[in-house]
């Protein structure tokens, strides 16, 4: 490789591509694993069996026999009398090992602990603590329990975020002794199970046939939508940045291969005259390429793993927990990606070597008949599209990126051709003649250089400038005063009074939204059966209770994906995209809900995306308010409250006993953390793109090095001075740089708007700064690279270059 700068460059390009992809791959894998754990935390277990009757001992024993950890929970509503006023509470009795997954946080008088209440003790929600005031005991049936602390966070709250009554957490034994768990009680019994995946699967298989219709098996799914949306955005950002690096590396690989082949042709012609068959010649060079691929891929993966460790070191508490170690899958993906890059960007160019005419030993100007550059590029784009699809498993993204690249190359080719034609009259003027002549020397090569520089600058602009725009838009999604409390179960006739009370304290809500609990019973007249759905999440969605929300207009952070928003007075539903996808719903389908015994039915007229991480009030199913007529419903709003506004909370709960206040501060902070750390991670991955862009620049300059060397020698021989030669040669790079810069600015501007809207569902505008920076960057960077590449050639005596 010592004598083959082309291969050396190729190795570097592969190293960067694989390192970028594998570091993001490893990191994303670990975050994904952590998310699964997060999902488990949201259940407080890996698997939950829930039913109205106590859990039979046999179920527990079987769990233990399989090596699983087991724990029981029973929840039931109860009424406490506090200062002679009745207060509905949701009692949750837990065993000492609760929770099996996730974290329970209880604030006692002195510290924060993670232990559930012991017999004789009770832990109360903040709202209940406010009502209890200075009282230190709570009654539970026949017992009086000591209040031992305030509930800060319980992992499996998400499943029941909108419960109406405040939580009273007690020990399992106390619940049994309270006398409240008679046969008529409305208790829900849950069996929590946790262990390794195989044991859990074995238990699931065992329990399934034993469950009756009233029992439900709850499994881990994606966790809370607010968090998973934020993380999914982060992952897309990271993948995109890594793919940009790998795309650039691909271009560098293509350019490097071209240089390698150009230099190998003479040797290949000699090998042919010595009697090697065309396939033998190809194999001779292919072996080198394969070795370089293998070494580049392995070293790249190693580097990627190390970078990932650094990422984790810096951002590991992304989810507020230690990340689990990564699996081996990302390694396989990156190695295959290296192979794909070489296959798409390198091999087609290398194949030309097979057809080198032996006569080249006599006539050096004889080139092998090869595929035209445009076809080679198209081939590379197709292969790249497949790689993207494989990497991010998103056909839309892969398709749009591939089509985008073809469009980019076509635009580059067209503009390059047009501009060179347009500039032709300038060739009569001495200064630009050499530069322009150099550019029209080999149009295919010029296009490659233009595409290389142009793509490099485009991606730099995108990641350097647009990244800031997009990240700002992302962060703006979650402003400092994002709602951190929900007020739910406001009675329709209380809305005005609640609103007045909030305003009086300078708090403005996000608006008041009527809601009602409902169960989906049929779609298009067909009863909904969980067993009709293959996927776990769909089965769960089919059986869960929905909070139907009502509002005439679509929320600001929603986006219409299909269908139309309803007309005033039209009975209709709008469905969130994930729900629509899981249940296979489309505009036109009619949904039948059961609302406390009343039937409610209307067609779906639109599918919309929801920015769950905005923390605005949002609903999976939103209905036109005309549907509300005659239905029992309550109203909810969300507000931002400071720590100092506890008194207001107290006043709300006192004045409106039915109203429940739910704090989502911890979740909000978690999402905020994901955004901040996500932005950091993207900046880290951005460095790879930078490295790849530099490699592309080097490759693009190197590719015409021999040609340029002989031209410089000739100019020197003819008597051109140092300065004259520099000016003449630099004119080539400056024209190239300016063209690439302008094209890159145009492209980056279009792409930024499209990307922000299509991929991240964020809005950004056009930036005039892009154009200025793009052009300057083009002229500056390409000019500098050109200067650096030309300088050593200027120093060599002309004779040396002519030999």
């Amino acid at each position: 490789m010592k004598h083959s700068p082309g291969l050396r460059l190729l190795l570097w390009a592969l190293l960067v591509a694989v390192a970028a992809l594998s570091s993001v791959g490893f990191f994303a894998d670990r975050v994904q694993r952590a998310l699964t754990l997060e999902g488990a935390a949201a259940l407080a277990a890996d698997l939950v069996v829930e039913q109205g009757r106590p859990v039979p001992d046999e179920w527990l024993q079987q769990g233990r026999a399989l090596g699983l950890e087991v724990s029981r929970i029973v929840t039931f509503p109860s009424v406490l009398f506090i200062a002679d006023r009745p207060q509905l509470v949701q009692v949750k009795a837990v065993e000492p090992n609760y929770p099996l997954r996730g974290e329970l946080r209880v604030r006692t008088a002195t510290q924060e602990v993670q232990a559930p209440p012991q017999p004789g003790q009770a832990v109360v929600a903040k709202r209940l603590a406010l009502l209890l005031d200075a009282r230190t005991t709570v009654p539970l049936g026949e017992l009086q329990l000591q209040v031992s602390g305030e509930l800060v966070d319980e992992p499996d709250l998400a499943a029941n975020l909108f419960q109406l009554a405040p939580r009273l957490m007690v020990s399992w034994e106390d619940a049994q002794r309270s006398g409240l768990l008679g046969p008529a009680s409305r208790a829900r019994h849950r069996l929590l199970l946790a262990g390794d995946a195989r044991q859990v699967a074995a238990y699931r298989d065992w329990i399934k046939p034993r469950l009756d219709k009233a029992a439900e098996l709850v499994e881990v799914d994606g966790g809370r939508p607010e968090l998973s949306t934020a993380i999914e955005r982060g992952r897309r950002f990271l993948s995109l940045a890594a793919l940009c690096a790998s795309l650039l590396a691909g271009v560098a690989i293509m350019l490097a291969t071209r240089r390698f082949v150009d230099r190998a042709l003479d040797e290949a012609a000699v090998l042919r005259t010595l009697g090697m068959t065309s396939w033998q010649v190809l194999w001779h060079y292919l072996q080198r390429l394969l070795w370089v691929t293998l070494i580049g891929a392995l070293l790249g993966s190693l580097l990627g793993y190390l970078v990932q460790l650094t990422l984790v070191g810096a951002l590991g508490d992304w989810l507020g927990r230690d990340l689990p170690p990564p699996g081996w899958q990302p390694l396989g993906v990156s190695l295959s990606h290296a192979a794909i890059l070489v296959l798409g960007f390198s091999l087609p160019t290398l194949l030309a070597i097979r057809r080198v005419p032996p006569l080249r030993v006599l006539r050096r100007d004889l080139d092998p008949p090869g595929l035209p550059q445009s076809l080679l590029s198209l081939l590379a784009v197709c292969v790249y599209g497949l790689a993207v699809y494989w990497q991010v498993d998103d056909a839309r993204l892969a398709g749009s990126m591939s089509i985008g690249m073809v469009a980019v190359l076509a635009v580059f080719a067209l503009v390059a051709w047009g501009l060179l034609r347009l500039l032709r009259p300038l060739r009569r003027r001495g200064g630009l003649a050499v530069g322009l002549a150099a550019l029209s020397r080999q149009p295919g090569l010029t296009l490659m250089q233009l595409a290389g520089f142009g793509l490099g600058i485009t991606l730099l602009l995108l990641l350097a400038l647009v990244r800031v725009d997009i990240l700002e838009a992302w962060e703006a999604n979650l402003p400092a005063d994002a709602p951190n409390h929900f007020l739910i179960n406001i009675q329709p006739d209380e809305v005005q009074a609640v609103d007045a009370l909030l305003r009086q304290h300078g708090v403005s809500g996000s608006g008041f939204y009527p809601t009602t609990r409902a169960r989906l019973v049929a779609i298009n007249g067909e009863p909904v059966q969980p067993e009709n759905y293959d996927n776990r999440r769909a089965r769960r969605l089919a059986t869960r209770e929905y909070s139907l929300g009502f509002g005439a207009a679509m929320q600001d952070d929603n986006r219409l994906l299909a269908g139309r928003w309803w007309a005033a007075g039209q009975p209709a539903f709008s469905i969130e995209e994930g729900l629509a996808e899981n249940l296979g719903l489309a505009p036109g389908d009619v949904l039948h809900f059961d609302v406390a015994g009343e039937a409610l039915q209307a067609p779906v007229t639109s599918i919309r995306s929801v920015a769950w991480d905005s923390f605005n009030v949002n609903f999976f199913v939103q209905g036109n308010p005309v549907l509300l007529q005659g239905l029992p419903h309550a109203v909810l709003t969300s507000v931002h409250l400071d720590e100092s506004q506890n008194a207001l909370l107290q006043q709300v709960t006192r004045q409106f006993p039915a109203v429940s206040v739910i704090g989502i501060g911890p979740l909000l902070e978690k999402v905020r953390g994901v955004i901040a750390r996500g932005a950091l991670a993207i900046e880290a991955v951005f460095l790879f793109t930078l490295a790849a862009a530099v490699l592309v620049g080097l490759a693009a300059v190197q590719i015409s090095r021999e040609q340029r060397a002989s031209e410089i020698a000739l100019l020197r021989t003819l008597g051109a001075s140092h300065r004259q030669v520099l000016r003449l040669v630099l004119s080539e790079f400056l024209v190239l740089g300016l063209l690439s810069g302008i094209l890159a600015a145009l492209l980056a501007n279009i792409l930024s708007v499209v990307l922000a809207r299509e991929l991240f569902e964020l809005r950004t505008g056009f930036s005039p700064l892009l154009w200025l920076v793009g052009s300057l960057l083009g002229v500056g960077v390409v000019g500098l690279l050109g200067y650096l590449a030309t300088r050593p050639l200027l120093r060599a005596p002309p004779m040396q270059l002519l030999r």
């Binding site: 021989t717 004779m799 002519l802």
Partner: protein
Amino acid sequence: MDAPGGGSLAILRGIDLQVNAGEALAILGASGSGKSTLLGLLAGLDQPSSGEVSLLERPLQELDEDQRARLRLGRVGFVFQSFQLMPGMTALENVRLPLQLTGQADAQVQAERLLRDVGLRDRMSHLPQQLSGGEQQRVAIARAFAGPPRVLFADEPTGNLDSNTGEQVEQLLFDLRDQFGTTLALVTHEQRLADRCDRVVRLDAGQLDA
């Protein structure tokens, strides 16, 4: 002379040679005898490790690379075995290039006249790759005489051409040389070409037989 291995290699030794104004000198020798190296030293394209070379009464070892280039500018022409045309430039642009480098206002007119003189009136806007070997060398000769030069160095000017074309190019070279009264230093291994010169020196293993 530094050899690629890092040691030094004596290519030329004890050379004492003078080419007079208006004279045509042929340097004859076998491959590897050092002919091209000698030509490069004479033209100031390279520097000897020891010894002195003067061109147009200027001692080259006292000049730096840029000063040597300036000395050649407009005064020295070259014809190479492998033509050495700028591949991205048309025949006309190639001939115009040295005239533009010296800043001549009528570069275009002069270049067109020279190309007509070498019989390429209809090939002016062709790129080198669109021309035959003989035509390319004629463009190179037209370029070499743009100026016109006081000294012309030619390195195997017919080496890449068949004998017929070679003879035509050779004729052209000497016709123009007579027309402009240019001093000619020519490297060749062809006796026939050498015979057309005023004087012939033989180079053997880096030494002049004279």
